[in-house]
């Protein structure tokens, strides 16, 4: 067979596959996801929000701004790194005219973590597509083909799930209009809260730790503080509750480093840190899984947070 004929036949053979790929690409780009949903929330409610919550799934599940006494928006999401927090905030800061408090909820791994390069880094490209931000992967992420295609970013298994779901989404039910993930009506089954599952979860998070990332994450926080202060907002650090099965399996050395970073932030930027990680007010039965509160407990935690952290900042005279 001649080379020209081979290329022609290859092109003909590829036509249906390319057509299928393009169709999937269009559908995936427009399929609703939590990132687009949050960007829409920013555009719709950002101007009225007085409190913003950033962080990983721990903040996404645990902070219900509907329980705050002032309007708030939860802009946290699963595996959202501090660099992504910073990019989302600075990209949209002009829309947050009334924001007075910005809560950066830190997970055990936050300082030494970035999304790109981890097992669920397909999310990185959803951030890039939905928010129009750079992402936290640096030049590697810029050269990654997944940056240019949602089909490649999500991969066959994820696409299969979305395809069989008719490209639909239960987002409107699962995510509240304040951006909070309501685990009580999620489509996912209740995950086991047990010693083994808690240990596995802690080990999974420990495996993502890379101390060399601390510097860039601390810089991201410094940038958030700089922009927030320039816009009249105060930044507060927090750590949400987790079950004892999770906390007792955390790497003590990594926790020691975590507190060194906190000390540094308190010293250099004067930030408050509110640690609820091992708060005794939350029992095993309050957890949806080992490191996320269930919907009812999240509401309770948000009320406590509002009273103990937000109120003294927002209405100092009354306190």
């Amino acid at each position: 067979m001649a080379t020209g004929r081979f290329i022609f036949k290859l092109l003909i053979f590829s036509l249906p596959l390319s057509a299928g790929f393009l169709w999937l690409e269009c559908r995936m780009r427009t399929a609703p996801n939590s990132y687009q949903f949050k960007q829409a929330l920013i555009e719709k409610y950002g101007a009225g929000a007085e409190v913003l919550i950033f962080g990983t799934s721990h903040a996404y599940y645990d902070f219900n701004p509907a329980k705050f006494t002032v309007p708030g928006l939860n802009l946290a999401n699963t595996s959202q790194s501090l660099v992504l927090d910073q990019q989302i905030y600075t990209q949209n800061v002009a829309l947050f005219a009334k924001v007075r408090v910005l809560v950066l909820n830190l997970s055990y791994f936050s300082f030494e973590y970035r999304l790109y390069g981890n097992s669920d880094d397909y999310r990185e490209f959803s951030y890039i597509h939905a928010f129009g931000i750079e992402g936290d992967g640096g030049w590697r992420s810029k050269l990654d083909p997944r940056r240019f295609s949602s089909v490649l970013a999500f991969g066959p298994e994820m696409i299969r799930k979305i395809l069989f779901n008719g490209f639909g989404s239960g987002l409107a039910r699962e995510i509240s209009q304040q951006g909070w993930m309501n685990s009580s009506i999620g489509k996912y089954p209740h995950l086991p809260v047990s010693k083994e599952a808690g240990r596995d979860r802690a080990q999974y998070h420990s495996a993502t730790l890379d101390p060399s990332l601390a510097e860039s994450n601390l810089e991201a926080i410094a940038k958030i503080v700089e922009v927030a202060e320039a816009n009249g907002a105060k930044v507060v650090l927090s750590q949400a509750p987790a079950s004892i099965y999770y906390t007792q399996a955390l790497d003590p050395e990594a926790e020691r480093r975590f507190h060194i970073y906190i000390d540094k932030l308190q010293r250099t930027l004067g930030l408050e840190f509110h640690d609820y990680l091992r708060d005794k007010r939350f029992a095993i039965t309050d957890f949806y899984d080992n490191d996320h509160l269930n919907a009812e407990a999240a509401g309770r935690f948000s009320t406590i947070f509002d009273r103990e952290v937000l109120a003294p900042i927002l209405s100092p005279a009354e306190n």
Partner: protein, 462 residues
């Protein structure tokens, strides 16, 4: 870089296009760079080990070629010691130390061995064996020493077969790397077909089976009786599909680049004796042991007792080649028993072929348990469970995914049976519409049923 990755999907077409755009005499440079990048994608620093092996063997072979007698032999030993030494340090040091400590403890001695905290470089056993094959061939005068260091480096590093073979011979690969054939459309079509079959075997068959197999063997304390029989059969197919998938993609990729790699599998589960099985399974390793161990020891042209000894040595080494673990040694020795036993107990009554095939498959499957079990004691307990034939976990088979897996195995085996009976040409002679329909169907099934996790090829660990 794994073959089943987006990175390879981008890497390989770029390599092909640039390869054929370059003049033939410059292509080795490009392929060498591409191969280094391919390997460095796993752990970059281990490239240094490969460079060391390449430089050492290339030099030993060059020095050895004009010499005779003792000096020539000493240089061969130098080359073998370099390769086997590296293999020993990375793969066997801790194993032998631990076994020595156990032995010392039995003798009442207090010996605490040092432990080397080294990660085995991916595919080390493959490329050291390929490198040794070169120096042995030069030593025996069957291959002239390669003058071109770059081409020799490519012989060891050639990316399609770098990580998990086939373990090539210099007589096959080196001349091709010198000539660097031009693009041939027919070879490219055959190569693409092999890649498609390989991807299908890996993601639709091997990795789907892995879900059930891993569940049964990793949680072996919770698995019982008959469920283990199914898990063992599934593992027999999983490892075949997994390894032959790697070979298919390797051969397909090389074919597109104009390089013909040796066949590594020839429908091994249709073999009607364990001996035949070993001429059809991992052919490049079996023939390596045949040519460089079995034949030099006298092969089968000696007394029956010496033949059995030779087989014992080969299968012991084969077990050790797979891993520094007693289970692999037992796996090798079990296969030795299966191969050697007919030398003494040849059946007087001819059994029907289907029965011999079935018995061979069963024996090989039982041996695979030692290969897959976490350790030797686990393998023993699993075998006990299998003998007890407890039926309390048969409900596991009601799993829809497992039923799909078993149907896919039956369908694939039927296809292979037709292939064996009628040859590859029966498919190639079919109308183009039929062939394209099969290709599209495979692509759809890959997308609809494939498992695309981070699961590496099983043989990467060797």
């Amino acid at each position: 870089m794994s073959f089943i990755s987006l990175a390879y999907l981008v890497f390989f077409p770029i390599v092909c296009v640039v390869h054929f755009l370059l003049p033939a005499q410059r292509r080795w440079i490009w392929l060498l760079l591409a191969s280094c990048y391919f390997y460095a994608y796993f752990v970059p620093r281990y490239l240094l080990i490969l460079f060391f092996i390449i430089a050492a063997d290339w030099s030993f072979a060059r020095w050895m070629e004009p010499l005779n007698g003792r000096s020539r032999r000493l240089l061969l030993y130098g080359s073998l010691a370099t390769n086997l030494g590296l293999l020993f340090v990375f793969k066997y040091f801790n194993f032998f130390n631990a076994e020595s400590a156990w032995f010392a403890h039995q003798l009442g001695l207090n010996y605490t061995p040092p432990v080397l905290d080294l990660v085995l470089p991916i595919g080390l056993s493959f490329h050291t064996f390929q490198a040794m094959s070169y120096t042995l061939e030069v030593f025996w005068g069957r291959q002239s020493a390669e003058r071109h260091l770059g081409v020799y480096a490519l012989y060891v590093l050639f990316f399609p077969q770098l990580v998990a073979g086939p373990i090539e011979r210099p007589q096959n690969l080196l001349p091709q790397l010198h000539t660097m054939p031009e693009f041939k459309a027919d070879a490219a079509v055959a190569g693409l077909r092999l890649i498609l079959i390989g991807v299908f075997k890996k993601v639709v068959l091997a990795d789907r089976l892995a879900v059930f197999v891993d569940g049964a063997f990793n949680g072996w304390r919770l698995t019982t009786g008959l469920a283990f029989w199914f898990a063992a059969v599934c593992f027999a197919f999983q490892i075949y599909y997994d390894f032959s998938a790697y070979t298919d993609i390797a051969r397909g990729s090389a074919k597109i680049l104009g390089i013909e790699l040796m066949k590594n599998f020839n429908f091994p589960y249709f073999a009607h004796s364990p001996r035949k099985f070993w001429t059809r399974w991992h052919i490049s390793l079996s023939t390596w042991f045949r040519d460089y161990v079995y034949v030099p020891l006298g092969g089968s042209r000696v007394s029956r007792a010496v033949t059995v000894r030779n087989l014992f040595v080969v299968f012991l080494l084969s077990g050790l080649w797979h891993g520094a673990n007693l289970s692999f040694v037992v796996w090798g020795l079990l296969n030795f028993v299966f191969v050697a036993l007919p030398l003494y107990l040849a059946p007087r009554v001819g059994l029907p072929i289907w029965l011999r095939t079935f018995l061979t498959f069963s024996a090989i499957t039982v041996a695979w348990i030692f290969f897959r079990a976490p350790d030797l004691s686990a393998a023993g307990e699993i075998l006990t469970e299998m003998i007890l034939l407890r039926k309390d976990q048969l409900f596991l088979l009601a799993n829809r995914e497992l039923q799909i897996d078993l149907s896919l195995i039956v369908a694939m085996t039927a296809c292979e049976w037709i292939w064996v009976r009628s040859g590859e040409t029966v498919f190639l002679r079919a109308p183009v519409e039929f062939r394209w329909a099969v290709y599209y169907l495979m692509i759809v099934v890959i997308f609809a049923c494939g498992v695309f996790g981070q699961k590496q090829f099983i043989y990467f660990q060797f």
